[in-house]
Subunit: 210 residues, 4 copies
């Protein structure tokens, strides 16, 4: 009986991961629909060049969703079982991820035009939402109040604490980029791209632990 439940739990966790991966993969691939082919342009090269905000927004969103997938992937190497509220929190996170193509297109269309502040703020705001979603998910999963625990490792294992540290950075950094959008939208986009690249550098615990 005990082992049957464990097996069922592992299956549930695996299915949640697969579903989440599907949403990540679809959201990251749908971004391409935001790149619009200009209609009958006499000078296609120049027209494409003038569409640079589309490409900047595409790259930033692709890198950010990619990083988020990686993060999700890492959390779930530590999460052994899911309960109802973890499913709900994960759903909130996926809500944030799957909406990204919309603010991406907002930025692509409005950067450099009136409305760019609103567009960039919505874009940054959606990343703040996602960063908070990750924190909520992780804090819930790693809380000492979960009985039986959801993690494979103790709630105060070094890799758990390292993620705590790392996750403190995300929401604040995206919040700064969000605030900057109200004055310098271009700088805000550049900051978000830089953040994605920054998060690509592996955390200390990785290099020490592997």
């Amino acid at each position: 009986m005990e082992s049957a439940r464990e097996e069922r739990e592992e299956k549930e966790t695996a299915r949640l991961e697969a579903f989440s991966d599907g949403v990540f993969a679809i959201a990251i691939t749908l971004l391409v629909l935001e790149l619009k082919v200009p209609a009958g342009s006499a000078s296609l090269g120049r027209t494409l060049a003038s569409e640079w905000p589309s490409f900047a927004a595409y790259l930033t969103s692709f890198a950010t969703i990619g990083i988020m997938w990686l993060n999700h992937h890492r959390l779930f190497t530590l999460i052994r079982r899911v309960d109802h509220w973890l499913l709900v929190l994960n759903g909130l996170l996926l809500l944030g991820v799957s909406v990204v193509p919309f603010p991406t297109e907002l930025v692509a269309q409005y950067l450099g035009h009136p409305g760019e502040v609103t567009a960039t703020a919505v874009y940054g705001g959606s990343f703040v939402f996602i960063a908070l979603g990750f924190n909520g998910l992780w804090r819930y999963a790693s809380s000492r109040d979960r009985h039986p625990p959801l993690l494979r490792v103790p709630h105060d294992a070094p890799e758990v604490l390292a993620i705590h540290d790392q996750y403190r950075v995300g929401p604040i950094a995206y919040l700064v980029a969000f605030v900057v959008a109200f004055w310098w939208p271009n700088v805000s986009i550049a900051m978000m791209l830089a953040l994605a690249v920054f998060f690509l550098i592996p955390a200390k615990v990785k290099s020490a632990g592997s």
Copy 2:
């Protein structure tokens, strides 16, 4: 021989789940294509605010498909093997799920304009269809007439009966929301969002059994 068949059955069930998850994940992520970027708006913030029905419809559909996925996921923790008609019933259910982006866009475009009654009724009607689809799938899978049984547990196990109880609510609740649409479309949409949130509260059997 016996165990080879069992293994093949488990593989079939797993593949059905994976295919269904794919459809759920794609349908929930395609919803974002319904959010339209307004063309060259002078006051983007105000224009986005006036598009609130799009966001309300997006949220409602996202939450509803999310809940449905969760439901599907739970049913299949109890279903061990699939037969031909279960595949067909599951296909009908997926038909309902994958069509959701269309009525969502109907509501997004027509709420607050002439035609909102039709749009909301189509929207509610598609949820009634899905709720009936879930009932059909579950009643077929849990029927005592299946030999060999499709469930992992006896057809009168407490968790099976608990789902019976819970599933009586769905079609009726969505039917009420559907009927309300003919008089107050806004109220109908609010009811459907509330239903999704309501179904997020775990059933008693969950809290007792886990």
Copy 3:
């Protein structure tokens, strides 16, 4: 060494199935993008009713891709390993499946208007192509010339022969529907929907063998 190769083969087969399932799931869900929300219609109900060819084409394509998925799923319960040319043949089949949303939209837009013969012929032609693709895939996989064999069962096992029989029907039936399209496009579409429903009835070998 031997068992390591077998394991790798099983992994390859599983990954091919997963990739194919992904394409099936995406193609079947993308069909919904063909359903267009009419712009600012005064009488939405009547406008939607006049769009019945869209709904007929949607249903027919959904049912047909669903059946195809089921077929694919069944073939692969018998296929144990894949080789290079099976991958290529499977790719041709997926080409046919993933293109279906295009002829579906052709039919949706042109049925009842000039051009309906071309639209329906393209639609029927794509199903002929897919039916031939299934035959090619299956004949290759089940040929006695494969060493080591690709099937889990002998090439003349009853379930293999039953599929041979069943697969003789598909291309001919779709060819008839294709030819009919040149005179009566509506009848051709109805035939294709009827074919999908017909293929839902399980083959004799299933009812006898399970």
Copy 4:
């Protein structure tokens, strides 16, 4: 402890493959959105025939992404574990794959019109980028500097060396097609389609080793 880490590694690799397969499957299926249904054409057959660049671009991109998937699939039969930078390199590769629908649509719209040189060059350039991505991924994974190694086999095993040879061809061939685009865009597209077909012929090591 050791075996638990190995299991976790295998799980990570499997999840990376599944995510990558998702992106490949979605990108290959999204290509169909590039095929546009002509609006109210009096002579639909002739209109579709005049859209041949769309179909040529569709076929070329479908075949190319299909081949890339196959390649990816083969690399990962040799890769046992992934590390951080492999994830990043794989992400760059997926960036190239998921952007393909955009240059495909560029070619579909501009081939035969002013701008075709730019469109075809962007198309060929994206394939050069992907070919380089594959090389980067493979060279990193198979490098003798990885400790512990990422491959299942020694870094100088015959199948590894065979892939080295094969991968030298890709970037150069696509670079030639890219350069040709500046003079003869049609020839460049034909070359890229021919390349996809060429890569379908299995490498020597496959026929010898299996």
